[in-house]
Subunit: 198 residues, 2 copies
Amino acid sequence: MNNQVDAHLIETKLKSQELFSGHFLHAFRDTVALPDGSEATREYFVHPGAVMIIAMLEEPGQPLRLVMERQYRYPVQQVMIEFPAGKLDPNELTLQCAQRELFEETGYRAKQWAKAGVMHPVIAYSTEFIEVWFAKDLSLSERQLDEGEFLEVFLQTPEGLQQDCLNGKVTDAKTLTGMFWLQNVLQGKHALEWVSAS
Amino acid sequence: MNNQVDAHLIETKLKSQELFSGHFLHAFRDTVALPDGSEATREYFVHPGAVMIIAMLEEPGQPLRLVMERQYRYPVQQVMIEFPAGKLDPNELTLQCAQRELFEETGYRAKQWAKAGVMHPVIAYSTEFIEVWFAKDLSLSERQLDEGEFLEVFLQTPEGLQQDCLNGKVTDAKTLTGMFWLQNVLQGKHALEWVSAS
């Protein structure tokens, strides 16, 4: 971002007040100076950041399939279809987190990893970012769910997932965004740089 | 959702406590029964819902271009490239909201509208949904920004936006998700049902 060029858009923090610190949510209200010098307040949630994993299973005699999850999401009161994802632990690198979450939630380990990009899911009221990793060369062992975590793992072809994204069965924005990257990777419009990491 | 089939995933509310009610954020902590009967807490924001508009400008002698915005988003401390979007007013229909937000923020009115789908941007801690509308047959008059709203409007081809989504210049998840729908519409993989509304 070029601060000089964007001076007509940028807001500057004047003061910050903690709204509350819950078990999970940590919220602030900042007073900011708007570009015209007037003041406004901005309320937002501080999030540690997260990763999402698009894990591609290639098995002999099978089409390419993706490792997907079904999980009840309380705020939206629905079982959602999602790519595996999870929050960063303190001081954890994003690739470490991607490896940990994929294994804990699905039991899969991957020998090759590629970072596709990053998304900001909720720019109006959260600092959250989600880094998107592709994974391949998979092997399966037993998953290690956190206590109180209930989710189903299933396999789906990219074509099946794309249809479910377009027909409204998938509404999770991070998963829709992952499908955008996956579609472009599979169409040869986006090259991934794979690294070995197990 | 089939509640009987998904009983092994679903969480049930036991009690709800308001955490706080800010100018913008309204947060709750609910105690829930997990599928195994144990208890957990879920903290989340209640959001009124929103719409996003993919407005397609077709002018003689010009390629198809999209009506885009650049806006500073305080929680992520960046100027973000976005499709126009905004929150529902009380009792407002989503198409009304889409028409209002497109006009207020960009000055464009559209004669034809098509609903593409819905996304949930942050299923772990917000009730927010965003309905995605396509708009075409555009005409331009003077925009009517809310007080304290500062944003730039610009035009971009779908190919240019797709590149910016893949190269990391666009990181807003709703816009990445919109690009997914747009790409599939333009590739003939997703049919829109247009309705006249001005």
